[in-house]
């Protein structure tokens, strides 16, 4: 096999390993932040971790959040508010956390989360809230 083919194989293996590592890291961070709590509110809301260095936040995440009408979005600078970012194991930007009304983290999205996904998670948070209220 030529050097070029070997190089392609090595690069492919590294990319694959990096993808697996990223999946593992995201799952681990989600598991660790599952019990994290924030402030309670009347309705489910979103904690939005961002930073000045995050381009995707400006080009993708913020337009997606703007599409969610009437939802409280708490913007957090992950660099300035490190303690809060650590509580939710924020290792990448943007990170969005869908918070239940009682202040518990229901869903943590590491990386860009599109509006339909956030809307689905918020709907789930609302139904959980209703179930708890009627129980």
């Amino acid at each position: 096999m030529s050097a070029q083919l070997w190089a392609l194989a090595v690069a492919g293996a590294v990319v694959l390993a990096a993808a697996c590592l990223e999946i593992y890291r995201a799952r681990r961070a989600k598991r660790l932040s599952a019990g994290a709590t924030g402030s309670a509110a009347a309705d489910p809301y979103i904690l939005y971790f961002t930073g000045d260095s995050c381009t995707v936040c400006r080009t993708h995440q913020e337009p997606a959040l703007a599409r969610l009408d009437g939802i409280r979005i708490d913007r957090v600078d992950a660099v300035a508010e490190r303690a809060l970012a650590d509580r939710f194991h924020v290792y990448t930007l943007p990170t969005t956390v869908v918070m239940a009304a009682d202040g518990h983290a229901l869903h943590v999205n590491y990386g860009y989360a599109p509006a339909p996904k956030l809307a689905r998670q918020l709907a789930e948070a609302r139904s959980t809230q209703l179930t708890t209220a009627t129980a």
Binding site: A3, Q4, S53, T55, R58, A78, V79, R82
Partner: protein, 146 residues
């Protein structure tokens, strides 16, 4: 830390230039080792562009040729240039290492070059900038300041 207007088309021109140069070097190396000289040249271009922005070759091609002729439309975004410069510098460093490896372990040198091309392509196509994420982590730990 304040943001300023960053033309993302210039960044995309830079990423396109990186991907294209590495691909030409890789495919060309099948025919002649002469093409591998493009890797250290690209490393120099990226490192020079990081420290002296007016020497950033691909960005200058965009600002002097592509933009004035309307070939590529500008895409101004309120942003910070530092993470992008950091990512470019990181690419230059990795290509510098790849250049050294090409002499002793050509497979590793080529593979590292390809990885830089893959990362530039991912940034170009999906907007995911690994260098910017590393910048965020370093800044968060107080190891980097704008």
């Amino acid at each position: 830390m304040s943001t300023q207007v960053v033309d993302h088309s210039a960044l995309k021109a830079n990423q396109t230039g990186i991907v294209a140069t590495i691909l030409v070097a890789f495919v060309g190396s099948l025919f002649s080792t002469f093409f591998l000289a493009l890797i250290p040249l690209l490393a120099i271009v990226l490192l020079l562009g990081t420290f002296v922005p007016r020497l950033a070759l691909f960005k200058q091609v965009y600002f002097l040729v592509l933009k004035p002729r309307g070939i590529v439309k500008p895409q101004p975004v309120q942003d910070r240039p530092e993470p992008h410069n950091f990512a470019q510098g990181l690419g230059g460093v990795f290509l510098g290492i790849a250049s050294l490896l090409l002499v002793s372990v050509p497979i590793a040198g080529l593979a590292l070059g390809l990885l830089v091309a893959v990362l530039a392509f991912v940034n170009l196509a999906f907007g995911y900038c690994l260098g910017c994420q590393i910048f965020f982590q370093l800044e968060r730990r107080g190891l980097l300041r704008a």
